[in-house]
């Protein structure tokens, strides 16, 4: 497997506070890769740097063989990286279908074709029946699904998911896991996720990276991670095991 | 041109700029906290100016003495306005607030027209036409008094925001709305207080301005625009910024009038505004917005 995304010694500082400190890892094409860590560990900052919302101070981010650090968010999306937001940001006054259609228009300039694609994705994410609803009226789980659908609509090679399981009931989490796994299997979509719900991480990810205070403290398969003493101490605690 | 002309003009610009700054301060305080752009700002000042004219013509009360009472009246007006009308609009989109305040401006200006008629009104104090002469330099006395009063008023307001509990609470609201709600501050009342204070500033400025400017009911829009320019130049939400912006705009217009054709002098004020927006969008003394 070739590397789709690789980070090399990426750092970011905010007003003297080091949010991310020399983080480096590689996500192979077609993998599902998880980043975990306690709140404030720098996960979202790391995501924001990959997605182009903020530029790294140091280090390199290479996607599909080309450096992308410092590019604008929209340029990075056009290269093939789509993201969701931890605090969901649908287009509030638009319908569910329009939200996803907008994503699909990136690769399918024809509105009709984009709408068809959006409807397929809404089916996939169990939102088809709600496609005429105004996005701001959706429940949190639906909004999370909508974000995933909109991100998928841009036809990414790499999908960045920022805590899409948070706030979901166990059955909903399982459903999301099934959907994501199917996407990964069928189209070879690479997924990088930040997740607190360890159950989902264990079920999905082939590899896990653990961040704490901006630095990497472990990387490996889920099984090795959960037994890593440093991880257990800093983050997982007794109840997660 | 003789050198003293430059001195005269610059000193005049600084003094007028201070009064403009106080007027703009009201806009700045309101925007900084309530996040509403007061498009009726100039009209509110016109109300204050007419009150000053009435007080002088009916009771021979000097506008500088009336400064505090007029500020108090305008405070009540602003407070009531916020409670009755503006409060439901705080979370609404900007264009809706714009419409609300434009409607208010239309009502104020034309009510004043009906009550006072269209003619320019002024206040002829004993010192209205005095000037101080220092060698070749001549300084307009009324502008000196007005400028000094503007500084005093601003210092008092600054102290209020820094030292009193209510002032600190208002600043907390401005910094973090949700946070203020969480710690149990009565945000709506604080907003009303703020709008009242902003109105008081513009009221005080109006009382001073009648010393140097005649008032007509249609004066509002040009002062609203001036307040925008000053406040954005100095930094929206920054109190010293408003005064600095006022002085900068005052001096710029004065010098531009001297060096170029005076009829185009406000173009230079707009040029400064554009430059500030582009290169220092938070304003000269404003804090950078995230």
């Amino acid at each position: 497997m070739t590397a789709l995304l690789s980070l090399d010694a990426v750092s970011k500082r905010f007003r003297g506070l080091i949010a991310v400190d020399r983080v480096g890892f590689t996500v192979p094409e077609g993998a599902i890769f998880a980043v975990i860590g306690p709140n404030g560990a720098g996960k979202t900052t790391l995501f924001n740097m990959i997605a182009g919302a903020v530029a790294p101070d140091h280090g390199a981010i290479v996607f599909a063989g080309r450096p992308i650090h410092g590019l604008a968010a929209d340029a990075i999306c056009r290269r093939g990286i789509a993201r969701t937001f931890q605090l969901t940001r649908p287009f509030p006054a638009l319908s569910v279908e329009d939200n996803v259609t907008i994503g699909a228009l990136l690769r399918r300039p024809e509105v009709g074709a984009a709408r068809e694609r959006a409807q397929e994705l809404l089916h996939r994410l169990d939102l088809f029946d709600k496609r005429r609803r105004i996005a701001s009226t959706l429940t949190l789980p639906d909004r999370k699904r909508l974000e995933v659908a909109r991100a998928l609509a841009t036809e990414p090679r790499l999908l960045l998911l920022d805590e899409v399981m948070a706030g979901l009931r166990p059955t909903e989490t399982d459903r999301m896991v099934v959907i994501l796994r199917a996407l990964n299997r069928e189209s070879g979509l690479t997924i990088l996720l930040i997740e607190h719900v360890m159950h989902a991480v264990m079920a999905l990810a082939a590899r896990v990276l653990v961040l704490d205070h901006g630095t990497m403290i472990a990387e490996g398969t889920p099984e090795t991670i959960v037994h890593d003493p440093a991880v257990v101490q800093s983050y997982l605690g007794a109840e997660a095991v | 041109m003789p050198l003293e002309v430059y001195f005269n003009v610059v000193i005049g610009g600084v003094l007028t700029g201070l009064v403009y700054g106080l007027m703009a301060l009201g806009l700045s305080v309101i925007f900084g906290v309530v996040r509403v752009v007061n498009f009726a700002h100039g009209e509110m000042m016109t109300i204050a100016m007419f009150i000053a004219v009435l007080a002088f013509s009916a009771l021979h009360l000097d506008p500088l003495i009336m400064l505090i009472p007029i500020a108090a009246v305008m405070f009540v007006f602003g407070y009531a306005l916020q409670v009755a009308l503006i409060n439901p609009f705080i979370r609404r989109p900007e264009h809706t607030q714009f419409l609300l305040l434009v409607a208010l401006a239309i009502i104020i200006a034309n009510t004043l027209l009906i009550i006072f008629g269209p003619d320019a009104r002024s206040v002829q104090t004993a010192y209205a036409l005095d000037s101080f002469q220092l060698g070749p330099i001549i300084i307009d006395a009324a502008k000196v008094y007005a400028g000094a009063a503007a500084i005093l008023f601003t210092v008092a307001l600054f102290a209020f925001f820094r030292l009193t509990l209510v002032g600190k609470a208002i600043r907390a609201c401005a910094d973090n709305y949700t946070g203020a709600l969480v710690v149990g501050l009565d945000v709506q009342r604080l907003y009303a207080l703020t709008f009242g204070l902003g109105a008081a500033c513009v009221g005080a400025a109006g009382a001073m301005l009648v010393l140097v400017v005649d008032v007509t009911p249609m004066l509002g829009p040009s002062y609203t625009l001036l307040a925008f320019v000053i406040v954005i130049t100095g930094g929206l939400g920054s109190m010293p910024g408003a005064l600095v912006g006022g002085v900068l705009i005052g001096v710029t217009e004065a010098l531009a009038g001297l060096l170029f054709t005076p009829s185009a002098k406000s173009m230079f004020a707009f040029a400064i505004l554009v430059l500030v927006l582009l290169f220092r969008p938070q304003g000269l003394l404003g804090r950078r917005l995230s």
Partner: protein, 334 residues
């Protein structure tokens, strides 16, 4: 089932629009000259309001200085006509790129330097004022003494040179309003329209969805400016005089903006309805005042202001969205 319902909605709004259009086309046979003038004013504001709505209603960029495009359009076409005898429709070909270029310049500065929200709005006012003062000093356009168009040839209607009676101007502005409506509908249903809505709703999320927001905001400003330019050309040839104070002034900008806000920002029909409501209101108030023999300057405007206030308090999203729901022709989510 759902499909049948939607076609029903579409058909109903088409029928209503056709009825309105039919009534407007037939209007000159039924109304007197005064009402015809009022209708021209309404359509003029409906047209300009639609143009502004492209920028604000669709792409979410609040322009409070739209008079600059009215003024540029009017002055370019009028100057070409007065100085070189160029017909207004050819003048329009110059006015449109010039207005669009001005829009592009303002947009470029604002969007490149991250000027947004209220700051952007004030920047647009600043440029309109800039233009006003500049034209007040520009001798080629007669500075502040005003540019007058020759109005001699009234004998017959000359559509090519836009010289003629109010009925001709009425049909010109009616056609322009219809074209603008069709254009807005087309834009809103196209890729660019969806991208604008995304930017209006959440610019950061729009960028995350791969939208080059700078470019699409530029399109919005330029198209809006270009469409507005014709309002200026129409103004120049209908009133036959241009004064910088009258065409570039802040009150003209406000006049353009009020209609769409009252009607419903971001809707297709809102700007048109808003123009009817506002101009209708102003004229009705005036007639009522005259009928009661109340000749008190300023009183009409006070009542007008109060009505504006009541509408915005009662219907903050504008008159059209609730009315459309009542009529069963709601514009789906947009």
């Amino acid at each position: 089932m759902i499909a049948r319902l939607t076609t029903g909605v579409v058909r109903r709004s088409t029928v209503l629009l056709a009825l309105l259009l039919g009534a407007l086309v037939a209007a000159p046979w039924f109304v007197n000259d005064y009402l015809l003038t009022v209708l021209i004013l309404i359509l003029y504001f409906a047209y300009a309001g639609q143009a502004w709505n492209i920028m604000m209603g669709f792409a979410g960029q609040l322009s409070l200085g739209h008079a600059i495009y009215v003024g540029l359009g009017g002055y370019v076409a009028a100057t070409l006509f007065v100085r070189f005898g160029v017909a207004p429709w050819l003048g329009l070909l110059a006015a449109i790129p010039i207005a669009a270029a001005a829009g592009a310049f303002i947009g470029f500065l604002a969007f490149r330097f991250g000027v947004a929200g209220v700051y952007f709005a004030i920047l647009t006012i600043a440029f309109a004022e800039f233009a006003r003062i500049g034209f007040d000093h520009w001798d080629l356009v007669n500075a502040s003494s005003g540019l007058f168009l020759p109005v001699r040839e009234y004998a017959h209607n000359d559509l090519w040179r836009l010289r003629g009676d109010p009925t001709m101007f009425y049909y010109v502005i009616l056609a322009a309003t219809v074209v603008a409506f069709a254009l807005c509908r087309l834009l809103l249903r196209s890729r660019v329209g969806y991208f604008w809505l995304a930017i209006r709703e959440d610019e950061q999320a729009a960028r995350a969805a791969g939208i080059d927001t700078f470019r699409y905001k530029m399109y919005a400003v330029m198209i809006s400016a270009a469409v507005t330019a014709f309002a200026g050309v129409f103004y120049a040839f209908f009133y036959n005089n241009l004064f910088p104070e009258q065409v570039f002034g802040i009150s003209r900008s406000i006049g353009i903006i009020l209609g769409p806000i009252i009607g419903g920002v971001g809707t297709l029909f809102g700007p048109i309805l808003g123009a009817f409501v506002l101009t209708g209101l102003a004229e009705t108030l005036n007639s009522v005042m005259t009928a009661f023999g109340l000749d008190l300057p300023g009183a009409t405007q006070v009542f007008y202001g109060i009505c504006l206030l009541l509408v915005v308090v009662a219907l903050p999203d504008g008159v059209w969205p609730p009315l459309a729901r009542r009529l069963g022709v709601a514009e789906d989510g947009k």
